[in-house]
């Protein structure tokens, strides 16, 4: 790890100022992804701006028909929240399957989606529930957020404050864990929402995406059978030593069916 300056701002505004003032500054949330990167000397930011002292960006509450989760909320809190379990079961399920207990108690939802790892679980949760990402400057629909491999719609200097999840009718998450890392080889979130069925897939492609053909089929007939013969084009999927693209394509359908069957 190379030396850096450490800051612990007490407000979002201060954090934003610090971010603007230092060209090579980085936000620090749970540090579960960022710190290993620093240790391996793959990144060397001049300044780390720790969000842990910033008030009001951690915690879970209900606002009308939405569940609002602060950016600094650790995965374990989401997994164990009675409110989330009751209103968005698929999200609690998802958060409970991230990494191991230590990771779940440090890692945050804001850090996870800002990082946009292709194999991370949260992107499927955010996209599958049609959530809205709230930053210090604007609101971004999940559909517009994940742009590519580790690439999001966030502008330099933009800070995620929280994520607003519309309460679905029902949702469920299925995950095939990576044999080594435990991340998602494939993760599929199926949600029945007011606007129809949403199916979001993570792990399979360069970034989380929605399986629109599956969504249409399920909106028409919400049964595992209606997914018969529906597969994602393997050409667009990741292919590596742990899982071929053909396998991933197959697994997406299997997991989607299992999610639906869990209803």
């Amino acid at each position: 790890m190379q030396d850096f300056n450490y800051h612990a701002p007490a407000s979002v505004a201060d954090a934003a100022k610090l971010l603007a003032a230092h060209e090579d500054a980085k936000l620090l949330a749970g540090g579960m992804t960022l710190l290993p990167t620093l240790k391996q000397r793959l990144a060397a930011p001049s300044d780390l701006i720790d969000l842990s002292s910033v008030p009001n960006i951690k915690g879970i509450c209900r606002e009308g028909d939405e569940i609002v989760i602060g950016a600094m909320t650790p995965h374990a809190d989401v997994a164990e929240s009675a409110l989330v379990r009751e209103t968005i079961p698929g999200l609690a399920m998802l958060a409970g399957q991230i990494g191991d207990p230590a990771v779940r108690h440090r890692g945050t939802i804001g850090g996870s989606i800002a990082n946009a790892d292709p194999a991370a679980d949260y992107p499927a949760g955010v996209l599958g529930h049609g959530a809205t990402i709230v930053t210090n400057t604007r609101k971004i629909a999940a559909d517009d957020f994940f742009l590519g491999l580790f690439e999001t719609a966030l502008e330099p200097g933009e800070i995620i404050l929280g994520v607003r999840f519309p309460i679905p009718v029902w949702s469920h998450y299925q995950k095939l864990r990576h044999p080594a890392s435990g991340y998602a080889v494939v993760g599929v979130l199926v949600a029945q929402t007011a606007g129809g069925v949403r199916v979001a897939v993570t792990g399979a492609g360069p970034n989380a995406f929605r399986a629109s053909a599956m969504e249409e089929a399920l909106t028409a007939d919400f049964s595992a059978k209606s997914l018969d013969g529906l597969t994602i084009d393997a050409e667009t999927l990741n292919n590596d030593m742990h899982a071929s693209a053909a396998y991933r394509a197959h697994v997406v359908t299997v997991l989607a069916k299992r999610a639906v069957a869990a209803r």
Partner: protein
């Protein structure tokens, strides 16, 4: 046999210390004035080093010195040791690689160290290491074992002209072909025995200082007993007499065979401490574990077996390719020959046996001993052949095995390779394992799984090892005036629980309270002169018997002192339970110990103290033969290719069990590593010989979720060749697990006609095999 005697399930006394953070590991040791060393490692798999520019690094803040391979050579530092000699049938000797402690003119694998930077802080050393500029001229690289063995691969050692080090054979192949021709049934198997990164919990670490005044070089490092490393450092690196080199291995987080070696880093750190005049510390990280700890396994086997009309094996023929990596490590090329190859026939009575071994070179980390060291590979191969034989003959898998196992009435059994198996109840192992696993009712459980949409399979695997390692060991017992005992050992416990077991032995043989025995180990200055260390499942035999005989000497001397105290003749004194008795009078060992330290109480001419050692030497060709049978049961989610172990029974015959709790621990750990190999672990190099699986993100360690409960049972048959009746226990699990597991998966996949998938059986591979089988039947 008291509560703390041998054979008792005594809890490990070291656990409290280790589990509450009170252990002392190498990284906890610091010397005043130490500097930190960071190695510059090659990012290239194969390249000529055109130049190394250290100017910028030398000028960097805090840097004390930068050394390259040339500095070591100039100082007379030699090359690493390969403790193996092999030749082909014509007498042509194997090609011996030469490895300098830091690469000088060529690098041959990613991670090979070529310079070291010393600086005041670790951070400064890391910064400066990045400033060492190396000009490489890239060369074509060899990444895979199969390619290394092919004549098309560019030779890594041009002076040898081939990547095949030697073609070793135990006998002319024509001899076996004659037997094979007579077989009624012939089966073949082709196996890729996957390369593993052993990954002890503690990464390597070293801290060394040179004391000008005494001329002694002291190095702390995790090892499996420092004696051999001491010798190597003294001779090849430092040019000092061995007694001027002190190797200390405090608590060590796992050995598995690969911690017993003289690695280049240990040599460089020692040398640099003397050269720079400053103590040097190196703290290897996990990334360095992946690219610099010796790797394990990595064989390709092609085998053929012939059976007669009764399902008896009439001929066995095996060709093995071993990937040695870029250099032959200390034992590397020996593993498929004297390590594992010669026990390939396993627990079976197979008289006609041929095997050949080609150690090959590739641009990869050298391979060496890893838990089992050739024996897991051998047993796996044999058991896959047995499953194939069952398939081909129509006999049940247990039946074909039963027809071929060596029977107790054939003991002692001389194998075709000349080993004398003293004892074992191989048929009994199978019976116990199958009963333990309720083999009989398996069909009911399968039907239940099928109802739940899962495939289910059960598998069996026999194994036998040759254990004992080096044929010499020395142990010492010293009893202080207060009766408390200290064991001085060169054996080294790094998970095996010697603090507990050695205390049990003293409790048993000397009646000393368990808590009054302490262990001093891991220091060449205190280890008995002729001690060796802990590897090759040898400590219970070589250390245990050595200790037992030292205890006997304590009793002998104690008897004389007791006789003197009781004013009688030694012949009339007997010893039991810590008390010397003669007629109606008695004295305790504690009293004798006290007297032993007061010269006035001693018989004429007797040396004061109660301090005895025993140097145990055995025939180098004599081994013990831990054996057993494992049964594994799995469920498979065929849609995902996901395999889950649902039941596991391990039957072990490790001879007399000194402490069942500890042996269970050894079995669990061994099974976990065996299942790791079979289910999750794989080391992948790409075509350019870059290591793709260089971290836990890509290298799959086995986890609790991969296992069911493991039931560990003993079928104890006392070893006849040592006083304690013990056989090795440390490597057994890793020998039995892969075959039982793979057998169970193939059993589950039988409906698809699948007979083989190379390890590890990851979901992707299992699913692909099923998909291909389905496509083939559809076509």
């Amino acid at each position: 046999m008291g509560q703390f005697g041998i054979g008792q399930p005594v809890r490990r006394k070291e656990d409290v210390r280790l589990l509450t953070g009170k252990g002392l590991y190498t990284d906890d040791v610091n010397f005043d004035g130490q500097v930190f060393g960071v190695f510059v490692r090659s990012p290239q798999a194969h390249a000529n080093i055109l130049s190394i520019d250290i100017e910028a690094a030398l000028a960097a803040q805090g840097v004390v010195a930068v050394y390259t391979g040339a500095d070591l050579v100039a100082d007379g530092v030699g090359t690493l040791i390969t403790d193996v000699e092999m030749e082909d049938l014509s007498g042509k000797k194997m090609f011996r690689t030469k490895r300098t402690f830091l690469a000088t003119d060529r690098v041959r694998f990613v991670g090979e160290p070529l310079a070291i930077v010393l600086a005041e802080t670790l951070g400064q050393a890391r910064e400066a290491a990045e400033l060492v500029m190396v000009d490489y001229e890239g060369l074509p690289a060899v990444g895979s074992t199969a390619f290394a063995a092919s004549p098309d691969s560019p030779p890594i050692w041009e002076e040898h002209g081939s990547n095949v080090g030697v073609h070793w054979e135990n006998r002319p192949v024509a001899e076996i072909d004659a037997h094979m021709a007579k077989a009624k049934t012939r089966v073949t198997v082709d196996i890729v025995n996957n390369r593993l990164v052993p990954n002890p919990m503690e990464p390597r670490c070293a801290v060394a200082k040179f004391d000008e005044e005494s001329g002694v070089l002291t190095i702390y490092a995790p090892t499996q007993g420092g004696r051999r490393i001491q010798g190597g450092l003294a001779k090849t690196v430092l040019n000092l007499p061995p007694n001027k080199v002190r190797v200390i291995s405090p608590d060590t987080g796992g050995g598995f065979g690969i911690r017993g070696k003289l690695y280049p880093e240990l040599g460089v750190i020692s040398w640099a401490a003397r050269k720079s005049g400053r103590p040097v510390k190196w703290r290897g990280d996990r990334s360095e574990t992946f690219v610099s700890d010796y790797h394990g396994r990595d064989q390709i086997n092609h085998a053929e077996m012939g059976l007669d009309e009764n399902g008896r094996v009439v001929a066995l023929k095996v060709h093995t390719i071993l990937n040695c990596g870029a250099y032959m490590a200390e034992n590397g090329p020996r593993l498929p020959v004297s390590g594992g190859g010669r026990i390939i026939p396993g627990v079976y009575d197979i008289v006609n046996f041929y095997f050949s071994v080609k150690p090959v070179f590739s641009n990869t980390v050298p391979t060496d001993t890893y838990r089992g060291a050739g024996r897991p590979e051998a047993n796996f191969l044999m058991e896959r052949l047995m499953d194939a034989a069952a398939e081909a003959t129509g006999l049940a898998r247990d039946e074909v095995r039963r027809r071929n196992v060596i029977r107790p009435d054939q003991m002692p059994y001389r194998t075709q390779m000349g080993l004398l198996i003293d004892s074992g109840d191989f048929d009994g192992n199978m019976k116990m394992a199958m009963e333990g696993a309720d083999w009989e009712n398996f069909p009911k459980r399968r039907a239940q799984s099928e109802k739940n949409g899962k495939l289910r399979g059960i598998g069996i695997g026999n194994f036998v090892e040759a254990a004992g390692g080096r044929p010499t060991e020395e142990m010492r017992i010293r009893i202080a005036a207060d009766g408390k005992a200290t064991v001085f050992a060169g054996t080294h416990s790094h998970g095996q629980g010697h603090e507990t077991v050695w205390a049990q032995l003293l409790n048993e043989f000397l009646g000393i309270p368990f808590d009054d025995v302490s262990l001093v180990q891991g220091d060449t200055a205190t280890a008995p002169k002729n001690s060796a260390g802990t590897f090759g499942s040898r400590s219970s035999w070589m250390g245990g018997v050595g200790l037992q005989r030292s205890a006997k000497r304590i009793v002998e001397k104690g008897t004389k002192i007791a006789a003197n105290l009781m004013q009688t003749e030694p012949e009339g004194v007997s010893f039991a339970g810590g008390v010397f008795t003669a007629g109606t009078s008695s004295v305790t060992l504690v009293e004798v110990a006290k007297a032993a330290h007061e010269p006035k109480n001693l018989p004429e001419g007797m040396e004061a103290g109660l301090d005895e050692s025993y140097f145990l030497e055995r025939d180098p060709e004599e081994f013990n033969f831990p054996n057993g049978c494992h049964v594994c049961e799995v469920e498979i989610d065929a849609d995902l290719g996901h395999v889950q172990i649902v039941n596991y029974v391990a039957v072990d015959d490790c001879g007399f069990v000194l402490n069942p709790v500890i042996v269970h621990g050894q079995v669990y750990g061994g099974v976990a590593q065996g299942i790791g190999q079979a289910l999750t672990e794989n080391t992948v190099y790409d075509e350019d010989a870059q290591l793709v699986t260089g971290s836990f993100m890509d290298y799959g360690m086995p986890r609790a979720q991969h296992f069911s409960m493991i039931e560990a049972l003993f079928n104890q048959v006392l070893c006849k060749t040592n006083d304690l009746g013990v056989k090795g226990a440390g490597e057994a699990g890793a020998c039995g697990a892969p075959s039982a597991f793979v057998s169970s998966v193939m059993d589950a996949l039988k409906p698809y006609g699948i007979t083989h998938i190379d390890m590890p059986l990851t979901p992707d591979r299992v699913w692909r095999a099923i998909a291909e089988a389905k496509a083939a039947t559809a076509a």
